[in-house]
Amino acid sequence: MSYRSHVSDHSHEASTFKFRAIVAAVICLLMLLGLLTRLAWLQIVDYAHFSDLSEHNRIRLMELPPTRGLIYDRNGVVLAENKPTFHLEIIPEQVDDMEQTLKGLAEIVTISEAELERFKEQLKVRRSFQRISLRTRLSEDEVARLAVNRHRFPGVDINARLSRFYPQGETTAHVVGYVGRINQKDLTVIDEGNYRGTTHIGKTGLEKYYESELHGQVGRQNVEVNAQGRILRVIDKVAPIPGNDLTLNLDIELQRQAEKALGDLAGAVIAIEPHTGAVVVFVSKPGFDPNLFVHGISHKNYDALRHDIDKPLFNRAIFGQYPPGSTFKPFLGLAGIEQRSFGVRESIYCKGHYLLPGDDTERKYRDWKKEGHGTVDLTKAIEQSCDVYFYELAYRAGIDHMHDFMAKFGFGSRTGIDLLGERKGILPSTEWKKRTHGRVWYPGETLIAGIGQGYMLTTPVQLAVATAALASRGEKIVPRLLKEVHNTQDGTVKKREPSRTMIELHQESHWDVMFNAMKKVVHGTWGTARATGWSMKFKMAGKTGTAQVFGIAQDEEYDEETVAKKLRDHGLFIGFGPVEDPVLAVAVVAENGEHGSRMAPIARDLIKRYMEKYAE
């Protein structure tokens, strides 16, 4: 660009700017006139109306928060309720001598330094007729003592409010979850208008998942106030609509039984009705006391929970991902006969280890039984959990065929249970490995996958759903914790129909083959869980599993004994019964439980108790 045009460019620009500045000024003035017109409309045209309103503006709008819906187990046992809690409040204008009153109160109830400070802060900013809270959540003793001494303290009041309470404590902590004070993060995802006056919101578990059902609709009332702002009377009122009550499929008795049966072990127990998807037991151990979180947990308590080596805040049932180990074999066995990698009666010889055909390194893939199982067909391979049979099966089927069949049972994808954040587990395939690791699949990895180890990971809920699908001969259901939603206003009940996809086999009889093999696990002469089966009145089908633990992160420091315990294998068991017409499918995962056979009694006793309670 030449110098001249640059100059003319500049002068052109300056003149354009001046013109636009004038345009802008004119627009400003016009818009200000517009504002003035609006103001004139309010202040001149509608003056009489507003003046009248202001004369009688003794009316104030107050919000009425709704009561939160309750949560029950399938038999009506309360799992989450609203309990009145008592708060000590002071109305400053009615107090003669504040210092004296505070001193006197401190002798009757404990008042911390922080509470006192907060109170004094409030005293400065609030109006003298407004209640200021001094102590929250008084104990029954404190309430009684205050009641006796009440006459000594004019202007001091005990006020009852509803607080969430979980009577089952630890037992339902991971299912029901808990509510906590609404924080900034919650505010970004709720309709603020409906939460005016509400202080708590579901933070985890069902409390969070069904927040919209449980919360209800905020109400409001117009109250008349005098010139000092004191409430004289209520003029009109839109009552709040309480939240809906939830009835769960959970049976709290069975839940407790399963929790107790796990003993000191960390782990998860899930029991599902195979045909409906109703989740009867949902245990993740260890738990924690959800009531600690309702009023804001103290730092000390929270740190203790967070640093606990057993991670009590971790919901193992949906977040925990474990190698399924041998519990994977029944599904894989079905894959083998369905995809004709193996005939139903075809057998191989197990000599205690397996060599990958065409592998020059001569690496031995070992069976858990060093001396081998001898001649093994599918039934025997399941009953005795023969690894060599499944190495051969995996080798013949190939990882991608295995993947496709296993995916039908829900491995590698979310089950859709009504809780948030469920993990997917891992069901490996050549495509998966390329995508996540950027490497090709090695044949040896196929063998490892064949015994449910290696990349393979499942959550306890996934395992339970797959077991239920087996028990119902191919009905893969979506597990549901919620049974019904009760509208407390009009008495209507909402029910969700079970949702399922069918797994079709080429031959229906293949189910019978697997049922029979799994029955032998518990009731056969050589079954891996035969110790559980000998005294049983009904027949249970099952499969034990043991998953290797790969060790603890190097930088974590625990004492030797703890480490030794943490290095023990995980014990798994899946089972359903009675075999003739299964009513309950159970998955047990016990961290460092050493062997799955130890977990079989847990499943047996749950099914037994369930049959006693619900089956005629």
């Binding site: 000024a25 400003c28 103001l39 309010l42 709720i190």
Partner: protein, 377 residues
């Protein structure tokens, strides 16, 4: 070189005081306007705060700090602002990202960066830095700006706006966007492109709507129809229109507004302070107050029109118009014709952060204004 209009504004130009002020880089006319406005503001605040001396003391301290900032910024020569613009912009963007990643939460949004010594709100800084940056970019480009320059300007506006809207702080995001827009407007964007862009934006709204979450839709609807949230912004608007309307022509008199004194009006010292004023001083007061604002805005545009170079013009013009948008959005919101977004009444509302930014902007205007005169001599 001096026009007749300049004579009008600078009738006492040759006086000693005026020369003294010029050495200090102070524009006397603008200063006078600001002082009058602040005096009025303190009076209104006294009434709105129920005659609280503590509130007035705090506000006076803030005003003093803001004045010091203005004075300091006025000493920075215009070419320094020009040289710093891209660095400040880069710093501002980094800080905004930091706020989103590691910011402190306060009053419902993540806006603060805790620097241990002071807590700092980077989004405020962007109100000044965004127009500086775009002026820096556009003033070197051929005139009128080409489509590519306009596109880059658009990116420069949208980037900080999005980061601030994500905090979420709609009011500030709006002001940053307008500040950027006015630079482009003064920079000579062709009218047909301007109107075309406005039309396109209107056309995009329904598309955007499709992609929003339910709760987000709820919020937008509440923004435009406060009645949907009777306990929140709906209540604010009802009470503020009653306060304004009942003020009538002459108002109820200072300290006599019943709505505000009786605590019916929420946020009456901050975002809704205009309603207190209108109740007590009526439409007559409104005319006077809006005139003071108009005087300041027009003086700002005048300084812009007479700035020495393109950068100064664009920056001064944009800052003046942003001040106007502040005023318009606040009064529009309080009187119930605009959505309730958190924008204070400039230099009157109680609170410190926006005051400092505004006065820094006026410091820039003064620097640009006196810079011209020194050269003219």
């Amino acid at each position: 070189m001096q026009s007749s209009s300049e004579q009008f504004f600078d009738s006492a130009y040759q006086s000693k005081l005026s020369r003294f002020l010029q050495v200090l880089h102070i524009d006397p006319v603008l200063l006078a306007g600001l002082l009058v406005l602040m005096a009025c503001g303190l009076g209104i605040l006294y009434s709105a705060s129920d005659g609280s001396i503590v509130v007035i003391q705090r506000q006076v301290i803030r005003l003093a700090i803001a004045f010091a900032v203005m004075f300091f910024v006025a000493q920075i020569p215009q070419h320094q602002l020009y040289l710093w613009a891209p660095w400040f912009f880069a710093l501002g963007i980094i800080l905004l990202v930091l706020v989103l990643v590691a910011g402190d939460v306060g009053k419902g949004a993540q806006r603060w960066l805790n620097l241990y010594v002071i807590r700092f709100q980077p989004s405020e800084m962007m109100k000044l830095v965004t127009p500086m940056m775009i002026a820096w970019y556009l003033c070197e480009k051929p005139f009128p700006p080409k489509v590519t320059s306009l596109f880059i300007s658009l990116v420069l506006v949208v980037l900080p706006t999005m980061l601030i809207a994500k905090q979420p702080d709609l009011g500030t995001a709006l002001l940053v966007a307008t500040a950027g827009f006015f630079v482009v407007f003064f920079g000579g964007i062709r009218w047909r492109i301007l109107f075309g862009a406005i039309f396109l934006m209107l056309a995009l709204i329904p598309v955007l709507w499709q992609f929003m979450h339910d709760y987000q839709k709820q919020r937008v609807l509440t923004l435009f129809d406060p009645g949907r949230d009777p306990l929140g912004s709906g209540y604010h608007i009802i009470q503020s229109t009653i306060a304004i309307g009942s003020g009538g022509i002459y108002g109820k008199g200072w300290l006599n507004g019943t709505q505000s004194q009786l605590d019916f009006l929420p946020e009456r010292t901050t975002d809704f302070i205009y309603a207190v004023f209108a109740e007590e001083f009526g439409i007559m007061g409104a005319i006077v107050l809006l005139s003071i604002y108009a005087f300041i805005i027009i003086r700002g545009l005048y300084i812009a029109a007479n700035a020495q170079d393109s950068f100064g013009r664009l920056l001064a013009g944009s800052l003046s118009m942003t001040f106007f948008v502040y005023l318009f959005v606040n009064v529009g919101m309080v009187s119930g014709i605009l959505p309730v977004v958190g924008v204070p009444l400039p230099l009157v509302s109680y609170g410190g952060t926006s005051m400092v930014t505004l006065m820094a902007a006026f410091g820039m205007l003064m620097s640009i204004s006196t810079n011209r005169r020194l050269v003219a001599k």
